[in-house]
Assembly symmetry: C2
């Protein structure tokens, strides 16, 4: 007999799911880092590069453009000479900060719990031997 499907549904269906929605924002590489960095105040391109070691200018540009297009951050070109460009979170972007804080604090807990840093991804051939 077919097992019956329990139907205490999970809180949100993934159709137009806010979860998916939000993850599409946070999903890109370095995105949370950028937002996190900006949460401490406005920053220029090269400051961000320093704040986020390892990010390449290409990816950083991509992220900034993308987040700007989504209304998460604001790009402000100061007409100084050499013009400097300042990025800051919009009110909209600020809303993401608590979520990122939550993620960060979970990150702390995950580290505290001393994960043995699993290196294997799909090497679970043992499934049948269980």
């Amino acid at each position: 007999m077919a097992l019956k499907i329990r139907k205490n549904k999970s809180p949100e269906p993934p159709y137009g799911c806010p979860l998916t929605e939000c993850m599409s924002v946070l999903g890109g590489a370095w995105t949370p880092n950028v937002i996190w960095s900006l949460s401490a105040g406005p920053r220029r391109f090269s400051e961000l590069r320093i704040d986020i070691p390892g990010v390449s200018p290409k990816v950083l540009t991509t992220r900034l453009r993308d987040l700007e297009a989504r209304g998460i951050l604001h790009r402000d070109v100061k007409p100084t000479s050499p013009p400097s460009v300042e990025y800051s979170l919009t009110a909209h972007g600020m809303k993401l900060v608590p979520a990122i804080e939550a993620i960060v604090s979970v990150g702390h807990e995950l580290k505290k719990a001393g994960k043995p840093t699993p290196k294997r991804r799909t090497s679970r051939r043992l499934a049948k031997s269980v």
Copy 2:
């Protein structure tokens, strides 16, 4: 003159960053959905497939194996005949739920704010025309 670098550093450097740490867990496709679904109680493989429309068995398997290896969820094979397999969050995995809730609630806000759903990801050739 070189602009001076402001040094009100962002809260966490990305070296062994808890943010990065945690995102490496949440980053895979459908991962948050899986955890979200399991946050409502234990679920079997096929229930998850129903809860998360669009997820392929391959990816679902991958995610479940990965999350199991990380200690986020627990795989419980019931020795019934046909054996059914139940997945549930570990205490560890539960810790992720608030973060996901935060993400979900931001997702709601992002939707409320009526984003014009930018479909283009990297098609911002227009950069110069701005």
